[in-house]
Structures are given as structure tokens and as C-alpha cells.
């Protein structure tokens, strides 16, 4: 997030200031890519590029807060995903029941406390995204929008066309599943 200076940065970017646009892009792109990797892993880069092209075209007319800006960015990306795949989550989520075995089979040493600590320290972004992607689609998307995109519950609700209550439920359930998954894998503290 850019914060207090967002209006000034946005205004400058709208005027053609490359440095200001660079700030917007570098602030938004990593989160956008991660979000897209969960939604459409095979097309994330392409969709991100299309999203920015679209956003650049509309940039001069954009008015709003930083939260609005991010909502626009992610809404645009989401539409592109839908357009391209016609089916948001084409990849079936790995079933929760199947995961613990899969995890435990490969992690004989993880149950010891030391190993668990080590695992947590090394838990990488890609692995984290992979675990999130294994959640049911809506839960995964809500978590990505809340945590990675930095959108508040209300904004996510509007973006997804759901109630704020539904968004909270999805997020909590997702985290609950995640906790269970990690516990099953022996990643505990």
C-alpha cells in the first residue's frame, strides 16, 4: 500500500509521470500476480499484463481512494480470468481428506518440534500459495483478496458479489481448514 501520498502519486501517474506509475505498479503487481497464480496458475502473467493494459487505458479517468484503486485492479484481473477461462476455478481443489496423507508421507521428520520450527521458517511464498490454492475456491480467493490484495471485507464482498457475512465465513473457514491442514502435516508449534 502506498498510503497517505496515494492521491499525489495517482495524480502524477495520471499525468504521465513514469516514476509515479512505477510506484503504483510495483505496489500492485506482486500481489496481483500471487492472486492470479491461485486463480489461474497457467495464465497469471498474461492476465496480469492484460490487466495493467486495461488499467493504464482507464487510468486518466480513475477517481478514488487507494482501496478503490486496488479494488479496480483486482476486479479487472478477475474479469479477465473469467473471460479467459469461463470458469473461475477450473482446477479442482485437492480434497481436504487427501491432503494430510500426502503431506505426512513426505514429511517423516516434521513431527519433531525442531523440524517443525525449521519448516515454518522456510515456508516460502510459493508453498504458501500452493496450500491456499488447495482450499475450496471461494475460501482461497477470499483469503488472497483479504491478505494479499489488502482489501477489506466490504470491498471483497462487493468484488465477489456476496454479503460481508459470507465473506467472513469463507475467510474463517478457509483459515480453519488451513490450520487443520498444517496441524495434520505436523507443522505445529
Amino acid at each position: 500500500m502506498i498510503g497517505e501520498d496515494f492521491p499525489a502519486v495517482l495524480a502524477a501517474a495520471q499525468q504521465g509521470d513514469e516514476a509515479a506509475f512505477a510506484a503504483l505498479w510495483h505496489d500492485g503487481q506482486p500481489a496481483l500476480l500471487r492472486y492470479l497464480h491461485v486463480l489461474a496458475p497457467d495464465a497469471a502473467e498474461d492476465i496480469a499484463a492484460e490487466t495493467w493494459t486495461h488499467v493504464v487505458r482507464g487510468l486518466a479517468r480513475f477517481r478514488g481512494t487507494e482501496q478503490n484503486w486496488r479494488a479496480w485492479l483486482f476486479t479487472t484481473a478477475r474479469r479477465r480470468v473469467i473471460d479467459q477461462t469461463r470458469q473461475l476455478m477450473r482446477r479442482p481443489a485437492t480434497s481436504l481428506e487427501a491432503l494430510p496423507d500426502l503431506v505426512l508421507a513426505d514429511l517423516p521428520g516434521l513431527r519433531s518440534p525442531d523440524a517443525a520450527d525449521l519448516a515454518l521458517e522456510n515456508l516460502g511464498t510459493r508453498a504458501a500459495m500452493g496450500v491456499i490454492a488447495s482450499l475450496p475456491p471461494m475460501q482461497a480467493e477470499v483469503i488472497m483478496l483479504r491478505v494479499v490484495a489488502g482489501l477489506d471485507t466490504e470491498t471483497v464482498a462487493q468484488l465477489l458479489g456476496r454479503s460481508t457475512g459470507a465473506i467472513r465465513v469463507a475467510a474463517h473457514r478457509g483459515l480453519h481448514r488451513l490450520a487443520g491442514l498444517l496441524a495434520e502435516a505436523g507443522v505445529t508449534r
Binding site: 495520471q14 487510468l59 496450500v131 462487493q158 456476496r162 459470507a166 498444517l182
Partner: protein, 295 residues
């Protein structure tokens, strides 16, 4: 289970989680809770969420050159060589820009002098640097690979070297972008939370080619607005970008992965509803509409 129509006031009756748990989860979701502050049973979850917000690696900002090309074509970079400049813009004489300069330029140097040391250590010493190095728990890595086509445990083509080691890694950005990064860092410094700070800083480390070079790097980054903002610093307002962009007027070192000819993607027709962007929170709404001004 009806997902819809559940009001916030109904939430406490939801069988799981209990109220304190729900509050803890909300804090995690809002980024207001660092892993070490999370309740013990939620710490692994907090670690995963923190990993999701880890600073970007080089590949994640590799698309900048391509996007910049699009931006220049559409937003009409004033003073660009061989370009009429400001073609698509209703020249408002640079007022916002100069305001921004006042906001940002002065404190930058001092800020870095103070912040760089500790921040470098914090960023590089933390889990951030390990994010893409493949040193992941095998099973999680496997899940990641299957779920999102992440690089396999140890093979990665063009395996990114651990960014934290201070190797000069060829800044993937132009001088102008670097200036933006320095700005972004300052914003994060002042207003961001820890992870945002680290993200901004990681960008800088990447651009600078090493953690130990950030301070010097930012100090040397030319002000991109110098030539395009009349009267600022360099008195040659009208002269083309050679001066402003210093080294590389056009393409950034990290070349665009695609022939940056033009936005290869047919952004489609006036995307029916670019307006909706801000379908969200009140204001900001609709505008942005009828985008595709140029084309």
C-alpha cells in the same frame, strides 16, 4: 449452508470459530497480527499468511518493461525522444507533480541513512530471502507444485539466486522506476506495516543490486521529473528525456519478455464496464469508464 445473507451480527452464532478465535482470525486477515503475536494454535496459519505477503522476487517484477511500454504509448510520456509527448493528455501543467516532489524528495536521503541498516538486516535475515530458494518443506513444496506449478524443489530453470546475498542482480527497472521504488519505500516507511515496509524494501534491494547498495542507489537515482517539470532542477524543460532518464531512455535492463511493440493483448473493445472498477466503496465508482480513450 447458506453463505448469503449472514449479517455480521449473526456471526457469533456460527458454530465455528468461537468469538475470540474469530477475532484472532480477523486480525490475521487484516494484517494486524504478526506471526509472533498470533495465538499459539494459529501461529502456523499466521506464518503461511505472512509468507503470502513476503517481498516480491525478481520474477514478480519482471514485467515492468512491458507495462512501461504500454504506459508510454497510452499515457503519453512527455518529452520522450521522438514522441510528440503528452499527446493524449489535457496538459495540466504539472501541478500535481511538483506537489509530489515537495512531498517526497527532501526527506529521502535522510530517511535511508537512518533506516537502511536495520531494515536490510530485518529483510534479509528473515524468512523473506528464503521464499523462492526452494528450501521449502518437501510436502508443502509438492503441494505448491501441484497446485500452482511452482518450481520443483530443486530444479528451477534460471534458478533465482537468493536475492539477499547482495549480488548485483541487474536491476529490472529503469532509473525512473527506481525513483518510484525509492518513493514507495518511503511511503511504506511512513505509513505501512512491517510487511509492506519489507515489500517496498525488497523491491529496492532488487533494483539496487544488493542490500548494501540501497542507500547509495537511492541517493543517485535521478529525478525522472527533472526535465519534464519546468524549472525543476534542470532548466531544460523542453528537452527530451535523455537527461531525465539518465542512462536508459527507453527500455529497462530487464527486457520485456515480449516484443514490446504494442500491447499485444487486444484489450478488447471498450471493455463494457471498466466503469465498474470501483463498483465498490462509494466514490471513485464508475469513472474510468469508457476507457480506451486513445483507441
Amino acid at each position: 449452508m447458506t453463505d448469503r445473507g449472514v449479517s455480521d451480527s449473526d456471526m457469533p452464532t456460527f458454530p465455528w470459530p468461537t468469538r475470540p478465535e474469530a477475532q484472532a482470525l480477523d486480525a490475521l486477515l487484516s494484517g494486524n497480527c504478526r506471526p509472533e503475536e498470533a495465538p499459539a494454535d494459529l501461529r502456523p496459519v499466521a506464518e503461511v499468511l505472512a509468507a503470502l505477503q513476503a517481498p516480491p522476487d525478481r520474477r514478480e517484477v519482471a514485467g515492468w518493461g512491458q507495462v512501461l511500454t504500454v504506459y508510454r504509448e497510452i499515457a503519453g510520456r512527455p518529452g520522450r525522444p521522438g514522441q510528440p509527448g503528452r499527446a493524449s493528455q489535457p496538459a495540466r501543467p504539472g501541478r500535481p507533480r511538483s506537489r509530489r516532489l515537495r512531498l517526497i524528495a527532501p526527506p529521502l536521503g535522510a530517511r535511508f541513512a537512518a533506516a537502511s541498516g536495520a531494515a536490510v538486516i530485518a529483510v534479509l535475515g528473515g524468512g523473506a530471502a528464503a521464499a523462492y530458494t526452494g528450501s521449502l518443506p518437501g510436502a508443502l513444496q509438492k503441494i505448491a507444485h501441484e497446485a500452482i506449478a511452482a518450481p520443483r524443489a530443486r530444479e528451477g530453470p534460471a534458478a533465482p539466486t537468493p536475492q539477499g546475498t547482495g549480488h548485483p542482480a541487474g536491476p529490472p527497472v529503469t532509473g525512473a522506476a527506481a525513483y518510484g521504488l525509492c518513493n514507495a519505500y518511503q511511503h511504506a516507511e511512513e505509513h505501512g506495516n512491517a510487511s509492506q515496509r519489507s515489500v517496498a524494501f525488497r523491491n529496492l534491494v532488487n533494483a539496487a543490486g544488493g542490500a548494501d547498495q540501497v542507500t547509495a542507489y537511492c541517493a543517485s537515482v535521478p529525478h525522472p521529473g527533472a526535465t519534464s517539470t519546468p524549472g525543476l532542477r534542470v532548466g531544460q524543460a523542453g528537452s527530451p528525456a535523455n537527461a531525465s532518464h539518465g542512462r536508459k531512455p527507453t527500455t529497462p535492463p530487464g527486457k520485456p519478455t515480449k516484443p514490446a511493440g504494442k500491447p499485444s493483448t487486444p484489450p478488447g473493445k471498450p471493455t463494457a464496464s471498466p466503469g465498474k472498477p470501483t463498483a465498490s466503496p462509494g466514490n471513485g465508482g464508475g469513472n474510468g469508464n469508457g476507457n480506451g480513450p486513445g483507441k
